[in-house]
Amino acid sequence: MKSFALLIFCWLTALAAADAPSVAETAYARGDFAGAVELWSGEIRAEGVTAGRLAALGNAEWRLGRKGRAMICWERALLIDPRDPVANAGIKHGLDAGGVDRPKPTAVEEYAMFLTADLWLLLAVAAFWVTVLCVAVPRLRGRPASEANQWTRVVALTVLALCFPGLWGSRSLDARAVIRKPEVSLRLTPTQFGEPLRGVAEGDVVRTERPLNGHMRVHTADGKTGWVRAGEIEAVRGPGLPADLDQKAAP
């Protein structure tokens, strides 16, 4: 009985330790956002990227006023987990109260956001292979396909067909970038002296088209099209942590 009570105590202690806030969370809670950024960045570098860590990092960056970095973190968190509540809340906050713009997702993109790009691809590949095996196995065994086999084929083909819009939408979601510099002009032409059309704010999400002459042609959330310098934006699909754009290149 004594040993059982000891076991229960150890288990509860472990549970309590697991639920205890981490140092980064404590730093965030007491308003040390710079410390929280440093700690979460260190965690991501050491233990890998998760949607939760990226979303938390985005919150801390937002609190520090670095909208571009925050939006990158949240967008990347949504690439890993499209239903991450922290990232979704952060983007909603940025759009409603933070003054950032984000292109409204199309119907295909809304559909694609149900799963991640990798899951859509895995599902499509699995459905394809189930279909192939349903056709191949009866031939290899030299027997006619059973009714269950026929039903499996129909289901797999249906899943495959349903995956195509998801794959297309994921591709479209990948072709986005976040404005990273505070004062960026959307230019009419991709030249150094290209006429500025309008300003785009740091943290705005834009759809990217194609590069030319060190510039990228982008569509803004309000339908404007123009060119921004390639160094002023950061693609949503990228390494876990936001790029340090102020860092000078090695000589």
Binding site: S22, V86, H93, G142, G194, R237
Partner: protein, 559 residues
């Protein structure tokens, strides 16, 4: 005694003295007309065995206007004589022409050939049109630095001679760069039979320069026939002094970019007729004509309020004698615009005048809106200021860094589709499945049709029986021959009738091969199975054995 001594001295002198080299030359004909072909033969006799001479073409310096090339040298093994044949064409100037003395360099000594004199007289009757001749086609004027001069050597056949080939073209052009553009092309019909080699000359510096060209053409006599195909070579040599000047500065337009020649502005091409504001389009200006297309610097187009101009790479089409200037234009304003003017100044060396070329601009409809215009249209100053829409109160959620959904894991760096080996592994697996399915299908077909395997086995047995029967025949083993043939026939027939081989009789064989000789089969079977019977069959003769083997072969070839 005194006489004997003088005789000895004379003998010693005769032995010690070296015989002098004797050189003779002969020109045929002795007196030539201007431009008439001639042959020169030089014969050398020496006191030693001569062998072949070297560097003759380098040593001999024919006078100006005379073409002279070595045709060949006649050398006999172990002989102290050598003969050299030259082909030549007399100069156009009447008078005596001297080929200066030169050396013939043999392996063991150098023989000096004295001056050779050629008489050219206009009193000699010679029809130039009867002989094959070469002409240099080159404009007779002052050339300009950077200009492209197209020249040609026309090797025209005559009434009695035809030009069939040419070779050995050598050129010396001081202050020019030269490139042969086409060799040994047939002459245009109006110029008659012959060949022509065209070349491009580009003067690279100012001043006077010597341009010389020489080569050899192979001519054949006019009497064409199967037995008259002897060709002979005939050299040609041209030497021309060319004057080169810079393009005059007087009247030279500021936009002249080095174009010398006659050009035509073919037109402009646009990659897209209806671009959007800010969307780059490619503009191609096509220039054609005769002149130094390669050396023209692309005309500059400056950006203005309607177009932004970016540098672009251009491509040159060599085959079509045209030059393409390429620009990337970005429209700044919407509406109907005209492409920027592409202007070019050219210099015509024939008329020595400058002229201007302009590509006709294209009309482009640019869609989209200019931001300034949009603002002007949409911002109505008289309209009441719209009250700012109250934004819903939102906030950041509490961070949950340890939240992990089992389904949603991964990295935002790159999608699975971009992973190395993903698609190749799937393709490899698909290939394996297709291979396995195909293999299973083939095996299933063979299992459903066992006669395929049975007939294949029977064919192998029949081939073995055939080989054994031929071997038995060679060693005159009549019974072995019969056994092999009967075994082969039984195997083949059994596969056809789906029966056991041993059970096959003569009747079964006749069922499969209706025209088989039944009595002969009886003899074969009797002979083959003679161990079971008291009386062995008669051994077959050669013709009968051939017929037996033919029967077996026929069974083997049945489908």
């Amino acid at each position: 005694m005194r006489r004997l001594l003088s005789c000895c001295v004379l003998l010693c002198l005769g032995l010690l003295a070296r015989a002098e080299d004797r050189v003779h030359w002969e020109i045929t004909p002795r007196v030539t007309a201007p431009g008439q072909p001639f042959r020169l033969q030089i014969m050398v006799e020496s006191d030693i065995v001569l062998g072949g001479a070297q560097f003759i073409s380098r040593e001999i310096k024919p006078p100006r206007g005379m073409a002279l090339r070595l045709s060949g040298q006649v050398i006999r093994a172990g002989s102290n004589e050598a003969t050299f044949n030259f082909s030549g064409v007399a100069p156009e100037q009447v008078g005596e022409h001297v080929i200066p003395s030169f050396n013939l360099r043999f392996a063991r000594k150098v023989v000096v050939v004295p001056e050779i004199r050629l008489q050219v007289s206009d009193k000699v009757s010679f029809r130039r049109e009867a002989q094959a001749r070469a002409e240099l086609v080159l404009p007779d004027r002052v050339f300009y630095v950077g200009e492209l001069i197209r020249g040609a050597i026309r090797m025209r056949g005559g009434e009695n001679e035809a030009v069939v080939a040419s070779y050995g073209l050598e050129s010396l052009a001081e202050g020019f760069s030269m490139a042969v553009s086409a060799e040994r092309q047939p002459l245009p019909d109006e110029l008659g039979q012959g060949l022509q080699t065209t070349f491009d000359l580009t003067p690279i510096r100012e001043g006077a320069g010597e341009f010389s060209l020489n080569g050899i053409m192979l001519v054949q006599s006019g009497e064409a026939g199967a037995f008259n195909q002897s060709g002979r070579d005939r050299p040609f040599a041209f030497r021309r002094r060319l004057m080169v000047a810079h393009v005059p500065e007087r009247g030279r337009p500021a936009e002249w970019n080095g174009a010398i020649g006659r050009f035509v502005a073919e037109g402009l091409q646009l990659s897209k007729d209806k671009p959007e504001v800010g969307e780059p389009v490619r503009l191609r200006a096509i220039l054609t004509g005769e002149g130094n297309l390669d050396r023209i610097l692309p005309p500059e187009i400056r950006s203005d309020e309607t177009w932004d101009v970016l540098p672009a790479t251009e491509r040159r089409r060599h085959a079509e004698d045209q030059r393409m200037f390429v620009y990337t234009l970005v429209p700044r304003l919407p509406g109907k615009l005209r492409t920027p003017a592409v202007r070019l100044a050219t210099f015509d060396p024939a008329t020595k005048t400058f002229s201007r070329l302009e590509f006709a601009p294209l009309e482009v409809t640019v869609t989209g809106n200019a931001p300034a215009q949009v603002d002007l249209v949409t911002a109505d100053p008289s309209a009441p200021v719209a009250a700012a829409q109250p934004k819903p109160v939102t906030g950041l959620a509490t961070p949950e860094p340890r939240r992990a959904a089992p389904l949603f894991r991964g990295s935002p760096t790159a999608s699975l589709g971009e992973a190395t080996g993903f698609w190749s592994a799937n393709a490899a697996a698909l290939g394996l499945v297709i291979m396995a399915t195909t293999l299973a299908g083939v095996l299933g077909y063979l299992a459903a049709h066992p006669e395929i395997r049975r007939r294949r086995r029977a064919r192998a047995l029949m081939r073995a029986a055939l080989a054994e029967a031929e071997a038995c025949r060679r060693r005159s083993d009549a019974r072995g021959f019969a056994v092999a043939v009967v075994r082969g026939l039984q195997s083949g027939v059994a596969a056809r009738l789906d029966a056991e081989e041993q059970a096959m009789t003569q009747s079964d064989i006749v069922r499969v091969l209706p025209d088989a000789d039944r009595p002969r089969l009886d003899i074969l079977f009797t002979l083959a199975h003679s161990d079971r019977f008291a009386r062995p069959g008669a051994p077959p003769d050669a013709a009968t054995a051939d017929a037996d083997l033919a029967l077996l072969r026929r069974l083997l070839t049945l489908p």
